[in-house]
Amino acid sequence: MTALLDVQTVLSVHEFLYREARLADAARYSEWLALWQEGDITYWVAPREDVDPTAEVSLVYDDRALLEQRVARWESGFAWSQVPRSLTSRLVGNIEVIADDDDAVTVTAAVHVWVARRGTSTLLAQRVTYVLGKQADGYVLQEKKVVLVDPDSPVGNITFVL
């Protein structure tokens, strides 16, 4: 960060991330999708921070079309891995605005997703980088990169919003 951020930027970034988390936890998929900008986006769940997605497999590497498929699948009622759906509660913390450009801000955060399914609960710790585009009426998601803090242990059902 080169200059001191104004309070309005910080608060509005926080508010956006909290809204994204709340819509994800509530499985309000269409509203969650509407947080993303029209056109090119990247929704990426990567195995590590410094990975080349053209050389290594990711958990999710969605462009706009794939993200829409993902939401359509969730909403179909036929995605059995979310019937019943995983119950999640996520805490978004350690939020830092690491770049504030004319068109977008880049933000990093630690996100702890508590997940309950069939009487068992787990905690999925993530490092998340968001690129939020600036529009007249607020921010829109351009990129979301999620890195699992523990990439080597087997994952269970992670078919909810990551």
């Binding site: 195995p47 958990l59 036929f78």
Partner: protein, 441 residues
């Protein structure tokens, strides 16, 4: 142990306890996983001298290493002193493995070369006899490394058989230079269910993968096996809800020795023109098609359009789509699946990128296909807790099979031929005597 194999398996049925009973599970580790060939790694994962990978076989920690002489070795990851792990990292490159408990040091050939303060051992102590324990048997086929805990297993080629060998060849022959590289990362998934649920099942496709069929009908992805509509084929099964996929001509095979195969080439070849047209519409795809034709001639068309071996090698390996998938049983009700996408040698990078994206789409733990399989396996495990009617029915297509050459049995796509083939082998190995006394009783 006390259980009677013939009380839990019969023609077209098994007892649910084979999926739920912990005693049976421990017997499976001894009588199946310790008694036959297991896949452990691919040679391309340890290309350089000193490269190593840690793996788990039947719950035991092993190291796959290319030693200082360039030879492949599979060694138990257990210090010969007090049994500590000698290798901590998942993968790396090292000339030595040093136990950090008391400093015993082994070369990457497994030889014990360093014991601190050796004068306190008497003359009967010999470093030469105290190297890291090698797996009793190791053989490779086209870079696939198989090992066995049992020194008396028959040769690997006999275990695999001609059909399985041809299907491994098919997988590798997607590369114009016949090389695959297993170094595109790994996905580890765990489900709360028995390892034997991972089979080869044509019957489930339209039901478990209903969401994919939904996406097809919503016009978001192409329908494989449907009349050629000009859309490129996705890497998915013959999904048309309400219509029997048997009409597409796909077949389900039992290859013998528990190995199984779904032949989905008929469905894929029905869309060959579209697949080729989509590929050749890009310069990278056109280059790939041309190099395949140069290497394989007429056969290139099949290798490009129907490359999925859909092969299950009993008990711990599947080769499906672009991936090598390894089954690591943890308990009767818990299984880890490790998925390694394989990249092709000698192709434009874009072809390999497409393979990664195609794999993620269906098979990723956050993808659109496999997670629904794992969900159904967990439901299956939960359902089997009801034991009033304990039989699990696997009789679909029984009596209607066709015997092909070499003990290969073919059924319709949705027939339970693969399930019966796997479980017949399961019963054969579970019946065998010679289990170490006291190990499971």
């Amino acid at each position: 142990m006390g259980f009677d194999v013939d009380a839990v398996i019969g023609p077209g049925w098994v007892d649910g306890s084979i999926y739920t009973d912990e005693e049976i599970f421990r017997a499976e580790l001894d009588r199946i996983f310790k008694k036959t060939w297991l896949y452990v790694a691919h040679e391309s994962e340890v290309p350089e001298v000193g490269d190593y990978q840690r793996r788990e076989l039947a719950g035991e920690p092993v190291i796959v290493v290319r030693d200082r002489d360039g030879e492949l070795r599979v060694l138990l990851n257990r210090c010969r002193h007090r049994g500590n792990l000698v290798c901590q990292e998942q993968a790396g490159n090292s000339q030595f493995f040093r136990c950090q408990y008391h400093g015993w040091t082994f070369t990457n050939r497994g030889d014990l070369v360093g014991v601190p303060y050796p004068q306190s051992y008497d003359e009967s102590f010999s470093k030469d006899a105290m190297g890291l324990t090698p797996m009793p048997r190791m053989e490779t086929y086209r870079g696939f490394i198989f090992v066995s805990f049992d020194p008396d297993v028959p040769p690997l080629a006999e275990h695999l058989g001609a059909e399985a060998i041809a299907l491994i060849d098919l997988f590798v022959s997607q590369s114009p230079i016949g090389e695959i590289y297993v170094r595109a990362g790994v996905q580890r998934v765990e489900y709360q269910g028995n390892w034997k649920f991972i089979g080869m099942d044509g019957y489930h496709t339209n039901f478990v993968h209903r969401s994919v069929e939904f996406l097809q009908h919503a016009g978001k992805v192409a329908t494989e096996g449907a009349p050629d509509d000009g859309k490129p084929a996705a890497e998915i099964g013959p999904l048309e809800f309400g219509k029997s996929p048997d009409k597409l001509g796909n077949k389900a095979w039992s290859l013998g020795r528990g190995h199984v195969h779904i032949n989905n080439a008929p469905q894929r070849m029905a869309r060959a023109e579209t697949t080729l047209a989509a590929l050749t519409s890009t310069p990278e795809g056109a280059e790939y098609v041309a190099s395949m034709q140069a290497s394989y001639g007429e056969r290139a068309r099949t290798l490009i359009c129907a490359p999925d071996p859909h092969l299950g090698l009993f008990p711990n390996l599947q080769i499906i789509g672009v991936q090598i998938r390894v089954i690591e049983p943890q308990a009767a009700n818990r299984t880890v699946v490790v998925q390694y996408p394989a990249l092709l040698g000698g192709v434009p990078q874009e072809i390999n990128v497409q393979r990664l994206r195609k794999h993620e789409w269906f098979f990723s733990p956050a993808g659109f296909g496999s997670p629904d399989d794992y969900e159904v396996f967990e439901r299956n495990q939960a359902g089997l807790a009801a034991v009033a009617e304990p039989k699990v029915v696997l009789s679909r297509g029984m009596g209607a099979e066709t015997e092909l050459a070499d003990g290969v049995v073919e059924g319709a796509y949705t027939d339970e031929v693969p399930q019966r083939g796997q479980l017949e082998r399961w019963a054969e190995l579970m019946r065998a005597t010679g289990v170490t006394a006291g190990s499971t009783s």
